[in-house]
């Protein structure tokens, strides 16, 4: 039974998610999940099942996430996981795309007067265990020949507590995570994120190795969001654009008014329409959850469309 059939039979998507990272994935007071990663899950659910709410979020710790996916406890893992060589090959996972280009950074109090990570000799660094950041950190300090004292923490919340209490001078994780964390501080302005980005952290959805059809669906759902932004398709205008073929054949193929692209993946022809109507295009998702007007306040940066000098580049829908 393929994953797609399983999902359809079950009527809901099992989406491995973070246990709580503001802006990316966190349940609100009513237990409804919100966030950037969450939106991708909802998009996939819409594509496959037509209902953005038909998702079960399975919170996974950084330690359990890959095993959970490999064991089939979740259908797809969207939990700011870094795409690395060994994970892709040795762990038998398939990263099907990048929904956020990230890099590991450092956050310190501004009154420490530190302006570069290389000045952190002897500092105490809070770090989440079981992540690539741990390895990057070790590498960075070793290469720069400076010392540090790691304070391992299990969750972002704990890291934040330690950092704010001053139990560590530096908090390191992906810059997006840093920003998200800083956003919740009482005095966000008293903390700076240092300019060094010590690693490439392409975060993306993961599926099981060998689950190719399912991987296609996840990959192209993500691509659809990106492409929609590129072509100016938004949640507001998508129904209108989908009503009849437009002048732009790319849009037509994306929205199913031309060709039978949906059927190739075993989906309805208007799957992308539903997705965009339900969650919006990539830009909308970004702005709603982590954009500059949100408490997280991230700039698009690398995550801008290639047309705007970013890295987002959807292969053509044809």
């Amino acid at each position: 039974q393929s994953t797609l059939e399983q999902v359809q039979a079950r009527g809901s998507l099992l989406c491995g998610s973070n246990e709580g990272l503001a802006g990316f994935a966190a349940p609100d007071a009513n237990g409804v999940w919100q966030g950037f990663d969450v939106s991708l899950c909802r998009a996939i659910a819409t594509a496959v099942l037509g209902d953005p709410q038909a998702v079960e979020f399975v919170p996974l710790t950084s330690q359990t996430r890959f095993t959970a996916l490999a064991a089939g406890e979740v259908d797809v893992l969207v939990r700011n996981s870094t795409w690395t060589y060994s994970r892709d090959t040795d762990l038998n996972l398939d990263f099907v795309g990048v929904n956020y280009y990230d890099g590991q950074g450092f956050m310190v109090r501004s009154d420490l007067g530190v302006s570069s990570a290389t000045e952190l000799d002897g500092a105490t660094v809070c770090i989440q265990t079981g992540t690539t950041t741990e390895l990057n950190l070790a590498d960075f300090f070793r290469v720069n020949n400076i010392t540090y004292e790691p304070v391992p923490v299990a969750t972002n919340a704990e890291g934040q507590q330690q950092y704010l209490a001053g139990a560590c001078d530096v908090y390191t994780t992906d810059v997006s995570g840093l920003a998200a964390t800083r956003a919740t501080f009482e005095n966000a302005s008293e903390h700076v994120i240092l300019p060094e980005i010590v690693s490439k952290e392409p975060l993306g959805p993961v599926v099981r190795h060998g689950d190719n059809d399912w991987g296609d669906i996840v990959r192209w759902t993500l691509n659809a969001l990106v492409a929609a932004e590129e072509y100016g398709v938004t949640s507001a205008n998508v129904r209108e654009l989908a009503a009849a073929p437009t002048a732009n054949p790319e849009i037509n193929r994306l929205l199913g008014t031309e060709g039978e692209l949906g059927a190739m993946m075993g989906l309805a022809n208007d799957w992308a329409v539903n997705v965009i109507a339900a969650v919006g295009n990539y830009g909308e998702v970004f702005e709603q959850n982590i954009g500059e007007n949100t408490p997280v306040g991230l700039a698009r940066g690398l995550n801008a469309q290639w047309t705007d000098g970013g890295l987002l580049y959807s292969p053509p829908f044809r």
């Binding site: 950084s62 330690q63 890959f66 095993t67 490999a70 040795d90 762990l91 038998n92 420490l112 952190l120 000799d121 002897g122 500092a123 105490t124 265990t129 079981g130 741990e134 390895l135 950190l137 070790a138 590498d139 300090f141 070793r142 540090y148 004292e149 790691p150 304070v151 391992p152 923490v153 299990a154 704990e158 507590q161 330690q162 209490a165 001053g166 139990a167 560590c168 001078d169 190795h209």
Partner: protein, 404 residues
């Protein structure tokens, strides 16, 4: 009825397998063995199939690859370039360290609380009851988190120790209690310090000799020496004398605030302290109950008999009550030690790098070898437990009261 002298030789019938007491248990055992084998085969087969489906194999080679991560508390040197195996050893040592110190502290607090719970002083007895009940009836994890939160939230940051900061070091500027841990001076051994250490060791030997001598003397003459005071004197005076005579060769390196942190001295990390304290406090409540029960188990008649013989209360405690109570106390006490050791795996809550966090946590996560990692981890705990319970059995059989 004919004379039956010998049971008639009957030939073996199949039903005997079930209805003959000689064969029945054999049958059952064979069936059980087959079932267990089948279960094991099934498990192994499933595992192999599942692993194959995931494209994994079983192997312990990962232990010899570079770990890549750093560990803050290391009893043996370790850097991120060392192997996973060494990281596991670092973790094991950390586990054993916190377990060992935890057992000691828990015993001290537990004995104190247990004895005080029996105090004639109503107030003290009540306070201890409250303490014991609060500890025993709340999950250990909550205590660990609370102690950790106290350590991080209620103690000053290192930067508070700067000029104009609100915190200052204690004990003549030698100890700093911060929310990153407690920094204490580190002894620096200069030339000649060997002698001081030697003198110190000798005086400890001397203390034992003294005790032995005091015993002999008492047996011979009945005279008792004030062993405690002489021992105390022996403990301090010769070493101090040697210290000054040798021109104070041992100096202390005091922790100093430099850069981000204190430098110099020895740092006892918060995570360690929190885990250690919480484990000790929690376990001490159980130990207190054990001690109390042990003392209560010695009947009142024993005390009365001792008093009637003219023994003083403290001698009664030393010679009559404690030796008897200990027999009752030690076995459950050791199983509490076992619990404490196992509970030290909750280090995960405070980021203390014990064996579960290194081998069972980061290593598994970095290498994806959960099967092998968990297996090794389980074996480590199992061996530790078995050793501790073997010691317990040894003790039990050695102190068993002689009965008719």
């Amino acid at each position: 009825m004919a004379d039956v002298t010998e049971p008639p030789r009957e030939s073996f019938r199949l039903s005997q397998l079930l209805y003959d007491s000689r064969y029945r248990s054999l049958t059952i055992q064979v069936v059980a063995a087959m079932l267990i084998m089948a279960l094991l085969v099934e498990l192994v087969d499933n595992t192999v199939t599942n692993l194959a489906a995931l494209g994994k194999d079983i192997g312990f080679g990962f232990l010899w690859t570079t770990a890549g991560y750093d560990i803050n508390q290391q009893l043996i040197p370790f850097s991120s370039q060392d192997t996973h195996a060494r990281a596991a050893v670092v973790g094991i040592l950390n586990t054993l360290l916190v377990a060992f110190l935890g057992c000691i502290l828990a015993t001290v607090i537990g004995v104190l609380a247990g004895v005080l719970r029996l105090s004639k002083n109503w107030l003290i007895a009540r306070i201890m009851t409250v303490y014991v009940e609060a500890m025993r009836n709340t999950p250990l994890l909550i205590w660990i988190l609370i102690v950790f939160a106290v350590m991080t939230e209620a103690t000053p940051q290192p930067r508070e120790f700067r000029e104009g900061g609100s915190a200052s070091m204690i004990l003549w500027d030698s100890v700093a209690i911060s929310n990153r841990g407690v920094y204490i001076p580190r002894p620096v051994w200069a030339e000649g310090s060997g002698l001081v250490v030697a003198v110190f060791l000798l005086s400890i030997v001397g203390i034992f000799a003294l005790r032995w001598y005091a015993r002999r003397r008492q047996e011979a003459t009945g005279q008792q020496l004030p062993v405690l005071w002489i021992s105390l004197g022996l403990f301090f005076v010769p070493a101090l004398l040697a210290y000054f005579v040798m021109g104070r060769p041992v100096s202390l390196e005091y922790p100093e605030l430099g850069g981000f942190n204190f430098t110099g001295g020895v740092q006892i990390r918060n995570s360690f302290i929190a885990l250690w304290l919480a484990l000790s406090l929690y376990t001490s409540a159980f130990i207190a109950e054990i001690v109390r029960a042990g003392i209560l188990a010695v009947s009142k008649g024993q005390t009365e008999a001792s008093f009637a013989l003219g023994l003083q209360p403290n001698r009664t405690m030393q010679l009559i009550i404690l030796p008897q109570a200990l027999r009752v106390i030690i076995p459950p006490l050791i199983s509490q030690y076992l619990n404490l050791t196992k509970n030290s795996s909750l280090a995960i809550a405070v980021g203390y790098m014990d064996v579960r966090s290194t081998l069972g946590g980061i290593t598994i996560n970095q290498t994806g070898r959960e099967l092998e990692g968990m297996l090794l981890l389980g074996i480590f705990y199992l061996i530790t437990s078995l050793i501790i319970s073997a010691l317990m059995n040894l003790y039990n059989s050695s102190v068993k009261l002689k009965e008719r």
